[in-house]
Structures are given as structure tokens and as C-alpha cells.
């Protein structure tokens, strides 16, 4: 008598079917764990942001630490932002000039460069530079504080670490980055004037009157508002990555690195959203 053997397409025999089911179960568990860790990470981010917002309105605001962070983020970034701003204006002008010369529209150069600096290049380049400098600094500092139990020590001495470390840094970044952007825009226009004088001859007053003659309120205002969001994103990501760093020294590097990568990416995404909203105005 012929022995019955269940043969299903793809599952040749009972023994194979058992292995197949086990493999399938393992993969299911693996995917469930991945999904769980993703959702718990998302929940942890929202919890962190809500704690930060709640503590921002606390009566015991750490004003001295906030001022110290404003100094660290704002004043200590000035040399880097100065160089970046001047080079940004200079390069934009040098690159754009030949194209405008072909159309006999060199007089539009100051206005074109100024608008592109104010609307896009100034805010985004400054925010990306700050994401690198400030985001990594926050990630590494808070990460190493976590590793060396300084955050625990703060908590044990009845101080809320979110209020002292996170709120002050996020608010300082939110306030200082718009100021740095304005500063970079100003230096970028100066750099542009210098660039215009490499191959041409244009006076300072003429250049600036041509530059600002084309700038309207809607060129400046939405671009300025989005810089507050850039600052908040850089501060939040830097602090979150540092605050949730693991216990080993390796995690400090990972926190700093991922703070830079994620905050740079989010700056670009926020910029995309801001451009879409501005476009509707």
C-alpha cells in the first residue's frame, strides 16, 4: 500500500514543513521585536518632547544655565558662521555672474544673491553647520554625562535633569540659531559685494540698494520663522540622543554621530515643509 505523504507546493514533506514553520515563527518573532523597538523608540521620543515642553513652563527655570548655553551656542559659533557666511555669498556671486553676463543682467546679481541667501542658502547652510557643531556637542556632552553617572547624580540631588540640561539647551538653540542665521545672511551679502568687485566695480551703496530693492517681506519673514524650527530640531535631537545614550563609552560616539546625522536630515525635511507652506502664501 502506498504510504501517504503530504506534499504541498514549497513544503516537500512533514519534516521540511516543520522546519519551515519554525523558520517562519523565528522570522515573525524577529519582525515583531523590530516593530516593538521601533514603536517604543517613537513613544520615547514623544515622551521626551512632552517632558521638555512641560518643563519649559516650570517655575524653577534655570536662567543662568540658559544664558551659559546661549553663550556656548551663539557666541562660540560666531567664527565658524562668519567664515561660512562670507564664503557662501562670495561663491554664489562668482558662480552666478557668468550666466547673468550672458543675458546682460549683471545689475540683477545683488538682488538675486541676496534673495537666495535670505530665503534658502543662509538658513539651511547655517542650520546644517550648527547641526554639526552644536548637535554633536550636545550629543557627546550629555552622552558622557550619562556614562559617568552625572545625570543620575543630578537626579539624586533633587534636580530635574530635563529642566537643567535639556530645556536650557533646546531653548538656547531655538533662540540663537535665528540670530546666527541673520548674522550669516549679513556676512553673506558682504561676501557677495566682495565677489562682485572681483571682476566688476560696484560701490557698497549701489550694491546694497540693488540688493535690498528686490527683497520683499515674504522673502524674509517665512525664512526667518523656519530658523526657529531648525534650532528647536537641532536642540531636541542633540539632547535626545545624548540623554538616551547607552552606558558604554562607545555610545557617546554613537550619540554624537547620530545627533548630527538625524538633525541634518530633519533640518532638510523641515525646510521642505516650510517651502511648501511658503509657496501657498
Amino acid at each position: 500500500m502506498k504510504k501517504f505523504s503530504p506534499v504541498i507546493k514549497g513544503i516537500p514533506n512533514l519534516q521540511g514543513a516543520k522546519k519551515h514553520v519554525i523558520r517562519l515563527s523565528e522570522k515573525t518573532i524577529e519582525k515583531t521585536v523590530e516593530a516593538n523597538s521601533f514603536f517604543s523608540e517613537v513613544a520615547s521620543v514623544f515622551l521626551f518632547i512632552s517632558c521638555t515642553i512641560k518643563e519649559s513652563f516650570s517655575r524653577d527655570f534655570e536662567f543662568r544655565e540658559f544664558l551659559r548655553q546661549c553663550f556656548q551656542i551663539g557666541y562660540k559659533s560666531l567664527p565658524l558662521i562668519s567664515v561660512t557666511g562670507i564664503i557662501m555669498g562670495l561663491v554664489l556671486t562668482i558662480q552666478s555672474r557668468p550666466a547673468l553676463v550672458n543675458f546682460g543682467a549683471v545689475s540683477l546679481l545683488p538682488g538675486m544673491v541676496t534673495i537666495s541667501l535670505i530665503r534658502e542658502m543662509g538658513p539651511v547652510i547655517t542650520a546644517l553647520i550648527c547641526a554639526g557643531k552644536i548637535g554633536s556637542g550636545m550629543g557627546a556632552e550629555l552622552g558622557s554625562m550619562k556614562v559617568t553617572e552625572q545625570i543620575d547624580a543630578m537626579e539624586v540631588s533633587s534636580t530635574n535633569p530635563i529642566r537643567f540640561l535639556v530645556v536650557t539647551r533646546v531653548l538656547a538653540a531655538t533662540l540663537m540659531i535665528p540670530i546666527l542665521v541673520l548674522y550669516a545672511d549679513g556676512l553673506g551679502i558682504l561676501g557677495s559685494w566682495a565677489g562682485a568687485n572681483i571682476k566688476g566695480d560696484v560701490t557698497f551703496i549701489l550694491f546694497f540698494s540693488q540688493a535690498f530693492g528686490h527683497v520683499q517681506f515674504l522673502d524674509f519673514f517665512p525664512a526667518f520663522i523656519k530658523t526657529f524650527f531648525f534650532g528647536a530640531v537641532i536642540g531636541l535631537v542633540g539632547c535626545y540622543k545624548g540623554y538616551t545614550a547607552g552606558r558604554g563609552t562607545e555610545s557617546v560616539g554613537i550619540a554624537a554621530n547620530s545627533a548630527v546625522v538625524l538633525s541634518s536630515l530633519l533640518v532638510i525635511i523641515v525646510d521642505l515643509i516650510a517651502v511648501q507652506i511658503t509657496d501657498m502664501l
Partner: protein, 258 residues
């Protein structure tokens, strides 16, 4: 207090029957690993309780549960008559003001000077103090730990022993009722270890604190202990006076008290 460091060290025998910490059936694990399985202990008023055990036996986890840095999975912790797990965040803050915690690494704030490190808890816990009173208090505790000249130094300029002393000063500056020491002598040379051990006794005498001292340093235990508890595999293995441990024939205890 510096004079006491050279004097023979004897632990203060000030134990009274009043419990300041009571832990019942405490359980804590990390994932599949169960670190504390069923720990019950009491800390009495004014005593130095030394918790001995191998690395990884759950000693540090135990005192982190007491100050709620870690949340236990089961069991109760009563500190000064209050159940820690039932406290609100404000209540927890108030409870922590009465507890000093000396971290294994010292945990000094790297971005602050020694003076700022000491002022940090003082400004937040004793808000009614004037700047002059804060300055006086800072100098007083620094003199108590023998490092008055380190006032304006950064933590990076201090040696391991100095960091531990400054960390101890930062802990006692707010006059805590309970002290929790997490391996206070780990990583220090024998001379500095003895100095830290004698400082622990001095703090107990001067500030009338009740202390839990987590250590695997037997010399530190001999110097400071009024009572000893040994943890093994996440459970209380043995409890009693130091003499009981010294005379024990149990191989595990003997391996500690060689």
C-alpha cells in the same frame, strides 16, 4: 576631621532600633537576567551597614532602587516611613533631599569647578541660604574632607582620591540623614582607601547619618561596618556583625575574609 584620619579607626556604635530604611522582598531584573531575587533588609538609625558581595551580585542595583533611579519589579522600599514606589515626583524629590548618594565614579560635573559642584545641590535644596552662607558651608565641608585648597579647580585637575573626597563633600553639603556609598574605595590605593573609609566614619559621627556602604573591599568593611550583609546571586546570603563573618567557616564568606 583630618586629625581623625591618623587616629585608630573604630566604627561608631550608635545603632538604635529605629528603622530608617526597610526593604521587603525586593526583586529587580534586566531582561531575562534577574539581578535581585528576593532581598529584604533594614537600615537602623545611626548605623553603618556594609553590603558585601561579588561584582554583579546586585549591590549597586539595590541602592539605586532605594533612591528610585531604578524601579523595582516587586517588593517595597520604605525610606523614613514612606513607601518609595507610592511617592509622587514632588514627594520623591523631597525624599531625595534627605539622602546623600556617593557614586562609584564620583560623578562630579565636568563643566563646573569644585566650588560650583558643591553649590549646585546647595542652591537647589537649601534655597533660603544667602551667598555668604553658601560660601561658608562650601568651605566648611571642603575643610572636613581636607581639600579646602581645591575650591577653584576643575574635576579634570583632581586625582581619583580627590574626586571621591570632593564627591563626598558635595553629598554631605546638604546635611543628608541617610548616606548611600557605592563602592567608595574602588580604584584607589590602600592609603587613600583608608582615608576615605575614615572619612565615612567621620561623616557618620559628625552628621549623625545612617549609611549603606556597598563594597567588596574588606578593609573598608572592617573600618566602617557596624553590621554586614552579604549578597550572593541576588539574595541575602548572610547577615550579622563583622565578627560573625570573620569567624565563619562558610567557603564563600571565607574567600572574602582571607
Amino acid at each position: 576631621m583630618n586629625d581623625n584620619q591618623t587616629a585608630p579607626i573604630t566604627p561608631a556604635k550608635t545603632k538604635s532600633e529605629k528603622q530608617v530604611i526597610e526593604i521587603n522582598e525586593l526583586r529587580k531584573g534586566f531582561g531575562p537576567q534577574e539581578v535581585l531575587k528576593n532581598v529584604s533588609l533594614q537600615l537602623f538609625n545611626g548605623e553603618n551597614l556594609v553590603v558585601l558581595g561579588k561584582s554583579g551580585s546586585g549591590k549597586s542595583v539595590l541602592i539605586k532602587c532605594i533612591v528610585s533611579l531604578l524601579k523595582p519589579e516587586h517588593g517595597t522600599i520604605n525610606v523614613l516611613g514612606e513607601n518609595v514606589s507610592e511617592l509622587t515626583s514632588d514627594g520623591l524629590g523631597e525624599m531625595r533631599k534627605k539622602i546623600g548618594f556617593l557614586f562609584q565614579s564620583g560623578a562630579l560635573y565636568d563643566s563646573m569647578t569644585v566650588k560650583q559642584n558643591l553649590e549646585f545641590p546647595l542652591r537647589r535644596i537649601k534655597k533660603d541660604l544667602t551667598q555668604q552662607e553658601i560660601d561658608e558651608k562650601v568651605i566648611e565641608v571642603l575643610e572636613n574632607v581636607g581639600l579646602a585648597d581645591a575650591l577653584n579647580k576643575m574635576p579634570s585637575q583632581l586625582s581619583g582620591g580627590m574626586r571621591k573626597r570632593i564627591s563626598l563633600a558635595r553629598t554631605i553639603v546638604v546635611d543628608p540623614m541617610i548616606m548611600l556609598y557605592d563602592e567608595p574605595t574602588t580604584g584607589l590605593d590602600p592609603v587613600t582607601s583608608d582615608e576615605i573609609s575614615s572619612l565615612i566614619n567621620d561623616v557618620q559621627k559628625k552628621y549623625k547619618t545612617s549609611s549603606i556602604i556597598i563594597t567588596h573591599d574588606i578593609e573598608c568593611a572592617r573600618t566602617t561596618a557596624n553590621r554586614v550583609i552579604m549578597l550572593h546571586d541576588g539574595e541575602v546570603y548572610q547577615e550579622g556583625e563583622l565578627e560573625k563573618f570573620e569567624k565563619s567557616t562558610d567557603p564563600l564568606i571565607k574567600s572574602f575574609f582571607k
